[in-house]
Symmetry: C2
Subunit: 401 residues, 2 copies
């Protein structure tokens, strides 16, 4: 059973025969997954593979998470990418810890191994790098899709970029991996590891690739930076609501790749009533990450908010009425938004109002100059963020004594 | 004067204006030359640039010889080249010493600096290499002629080969070179040094390239492995004889690139009487490397040997007649050749005879089975190696007493 679960959704296996032999051998296999040290927030896209690893772990195999802190600590030496800052050793360790804490929602981290590739890559000197680089040709390296395209289009490729697949591949040599899993976008790098192991006299690892989960936009791979994700640490109601927005055409993929619901059952559900299928999926992932008990509230809240109602259970912010005496007991809209914690500044508050993102007592407000009486109200930003504002303190105006 | 001499024959200068400014500045410049640590035998091809360095030295500048021992110690990690064995630290140091001793025939090594690039390249770790590699693009690297051709013809280029120009270029950064000189085949590498210095915040070095001296075959660059060379440590008579064989069409290049004889004078000599010009050139290089006193003998010997005569002054080998008593006082031809020191083994002696390379008393001998009386004779190999063999000891045969 676990074997089927471990390979559920797999796109390619290099090579299947050999993998099945190793699995049948009874040996405890080392299953490698490379993790990016710079983005520690996990979403459903990450779980596709983590859940496969869980199945391998349940079969008794050793899961090895490799935190790629070596390249993280170099940053982008060409200085082209501003989104890739140089990380310190401490930051990579913190990110590694945070990664493991989140991973713990899916598999048993006590039974897993976490290693940092700077441990061996930092020890390599120039001669070692030349030796490593001698094992791979330029032509093979340029077969990687992104290199092929950039080379063809005369876009610059810095020489150091050619070394990264080797560094990543060498990780397999260092941990003597039996199997490496990864997304289809990693196929090239995983195969480099396979070939380097052969060059270094090891049995080449088996490589299994899995699909990339498409995000809520229905186009791009799920990622935090594209804001098309469902985070596994998000509150139940947010998770539920986002799940309801998954495009119909890819809902079945979400079932197959991120839940244990049998494929046939999911297929039938999606084909017979896609809205009911969404609800079934949304309830399933809330259950998976927050427990059965969280489902009813998430459903309830979705039904009321989706119907435009104000939720009953919301954050309360108190504002002192006294502060607005001199203004005739009136508070400016932008101040109100900021004090309610819905915007960090009045400038940002202004933009929200202009974007029709702010409602008071469930009605959109559009006048940034609006002055309101200091009377209790509900203010909301977007569909999900509701704040109950209560004015406290002096309620009647006192003329000078 | 020295400035003209320093630039005599230069093919390209990057950039001439800037070089002239630096030379005029009065600053003591660091002039870099990269040396190959694996082939310590210097020939006239090497002197083209060494003599230019001598002129720079006479102007008061510092000559820095960089022994490229770093790559020498790595050898050929791809294992493709059997002619590039891995050198030990000791071997590279010995080769460096030997190089310097030979260089001393041309310039003042006391006033020069010799450094080994393993000193800084061995200290670089993987992160340093990535940083270095990030400064250069693949497209620029593939502009190097040999890479361009191999890439176009789908011949494999190992990734480590792309790193070598960077290592060599980084040498300029390490020694803070003001000027680098080299053969035209090194142009690309020298320019990498120039660009890396800029990237590392230094003033880019000036680059001067000089022609490659064509060897005695009139086709290929002079090199020991092609046996088309005149070594600067060869005996006067060999030097003289080889010089007489320089193809007429390239004799002028030899004058310009390897002597101080003014170009116009050389041109006139070559045009008016090419044989006399050869003699003039041959006498000049014997004088340069062995002194005026060696010229007459070399000329003499050339005239007699070239006329087929046996030289008067030759090596003498003594062989004990007694050793051949049991053979009826006869010595086999192959033994004779070996004992005369003309071959290391009888097998090699056999090959020499079969190749018609052996003469006795100036006549070619062709019978490898030949038995000779133990009588004094002159045996020779090729045109240059003559040995007087004297048989010593018992001269009359004694029957058993």
């Amino acid at each position: 059973m676990n074997k089927e679960l471990a390979l559920r959704g797999a796109v390619q296996i290099f090579s299947e025969d050999s993998l099945l032999q190793r699995l049948a051998s009874g040996k405890r296999l080392k299953i490698k997954l490379g993790a990016d040290p710079s983005r520690p927030d996990l979403h459903l896209g990450h779980t596709v593979i983590l859940r496969r690893l869980k199945a391998f772990q349940d079969m008794g195999h050793e899961i090895i998470f490799i935190i790629g802190d070596f390249t993280g600590m170099i940053g982008d030496p060409s200085g082209k990418s501003k989104t890739r800052p140089k990380l310190t050793l401490e930051q990579t360790r913190e990110n590694g810890e945070s990664y493991l804490q989140q991973v713990a929602k899916i598999l048993d981290t006590q039974k897993s191994t976490i290693v940092y590739n700077s441990e061996w890559l930092n020890k390599m000197n120039f001669a070692d790098v030349i030796n490593l680089a001698s094992k791979y040709t330029l032509a093979r390296t340029l077969e990687r899709d992104d290199f092929t395209n950039r080379f063809r289009e005369n876009q610059p490729i810095s020489l150091h970029e050619l070394l990264y697949p080797l560094a990543q591949g060498y990780d397999s040599v260092a941990v003597q991996a039996d199997v490496e899993v990864g997304g289809t976008d990693q196929t090239f790098n995983l195969l480099v590891g396979r070939e380097l192991q052969r060059d270094y006299g090891q049995t080449p690892q088996e490589v299994i690739t899995f699909p990339l989960l498409v995000g809520l936009d229905g186009k791009e791979k799920m990622s935090k930076s594209l804001d098309n994700y469902i985070g596994i640490a998000e509150p139940p109601e947010i998770m539920y609501e986002k799940a309801m927005k998954i495009p119909d055409t890819i809902l079945l993929d979400y079932f197959v790749l991120t839940t244990d619901i049998p494929t046939e059952q999911a297929k039938t559900a999606v084909q017979s009533d896609v809205i009911a299928a969404h609800k079934m999926y949304a309830a399933e992932i809330v259950k998976m990450y927050h427990g059965e008990s969280a489902v009813a509230d998430a459903v309830n809240r979705y039904n009321t908010v989706a119907a435009g109602a104000i939720p009953t259970n919301m954050q309360v912010v108190e504002i002192s009425q006294a502060d607005y005496l001199e203004n005739g007991g009136k508070i400016g809209l932008l101040d109100l938004i900021r004090l309610a914690g819905l915007a960090p500044s009045n400038g940002e508050a202004r933009r929200l109002v202009q974007g029709k993102g702010i409602k008071i007592d469930n009605k959109i407000v559009e006048d940034v100059q609006l002055q309101l009486n200091c009377e209790n109200l509900v203010i909301s930003r977007g569909k999900n963020k509701f704040v109950q504002v209560n004015f406290v303190g002096t309620t009647t105006f006192q003329s000078e004594l």
